[in-house]
Symmetry: C2
Subunit: 188 residues, 2 copies
């Protein structure tokens, strides 16, 4: 998420959930800025999934396969009954089903959490797929060309060392082997 403080841009990594035509963003850093801006915070949220390295015959036509979206808008701070619901959606976005197998936030934790809402008013998406596109003359060059596919994969879940012996794996995690591959296909 990008925002501006006194002409300096900042980009902070964070997580989000989409609900209808708005994004909920978990944003403790940005919230400090928001407090000085009653009218809201101009923001840019960019999400990029890297799908592969595109290796062309010329350096110039090297590229990446990716899916990317850029959303521009004015973020507001979420409060009231919307806030726990937004936090629940963020947890569910990270791992579907998880919000039902944890202790939900108490009043103190809610106060210590910040959620921003960004209406999706202006957005652009870019996708690149497929093989390299070389200049026609370059196809005769004797270099290997193609794509190295990349994918985010999950490894074996690591139980908390303080977990009681014999505690069954989180139900939300039970399909972890397929979890990330599914998400990549769905385009989340």
């Amino acid at each position: 998420m990008g925002f501006v403080v006194e002409e300096q841009p900042y980009v902070v990594p964070t997580i989000h959930a989409r609900h209808g035509d708005q994004l909920y963003i978990h944003g403790s850093v940005a919230s400090r800025m928001l407090k000085s801006l009653r009218g809201g915070l101009r923001a840019c949220v960019t999400v990029t999934l890297l799908d592969g390295l595109v290796l062309a015959r010329s350096a110039f036509h090297h590229s990446m396969n990716y899916r990317s979206v850029i959303i521009l808008g004015t973020a507001r701070e979420v409060s009231g009954a919307e806030k726990p619901e937004a936090l629940r959606r963020v947890v569910e976005r990270v791992l579907a089903g998880r919000s039902e197998e944890v202790r939900g936030p108490n009043a103190k934790e809610l106060r210590a959490s910040t959620v921003l809402a960004l209406p999706i008013e202006e957005a652009s998406a870019k996708i690149r797929t497929g093989p390299p596109l070389d200049a026609e003359a370059d196809y005769a060059l004797p270099y290997w060309a193609g794509v190295l596919p990349l994918r985010m994969m999950a490894a074996e879940p690591v139980p908390d060392p303080r977990l009681s012996a014999g505690r069954p794996l989180s139900a939300a995690l039970s399909g972890w082997r397929d979890l990330l591959a599914q998400r990549a296909r769905r385009g989340d």
Copy 2:
């Protein structure tokens, strides 16, 4: 890479290479802005590697394991002899050895390429590792807690459909099975 145009922040995904105490950034979008800003472009470059989902016993203590760095500075446009060298470094950053097995950029391609240089003057890094940290009272709760490790993995290289039959795999790619795992360990 984040930058600002008329008070609106923009965040664009791109690739970079580090050379000494500066970053080279492949930045066609930002370069258009730079042309109107002779003094340079205030920028923020943020790189984040996601290492895992941190699943705590309470929703509040859910987190991510990650390595992230934020660099603030003023970018300038690279020109002259520095430009092809910077582009070479970007190709090498993506795949070591690749710049020696492709056709390098010609004069027209160099003109059509944009490279920004950002001196590393102000930077902050954040790393989270390890198991969830729950509130002491919550360790008695009957919920599974732990980490789902995530890692970017490479899959089998996909040859360009127009590649001549029998062309050997790129030498730079010959270690592709280990490539991403090594990079993750090195902390690139």
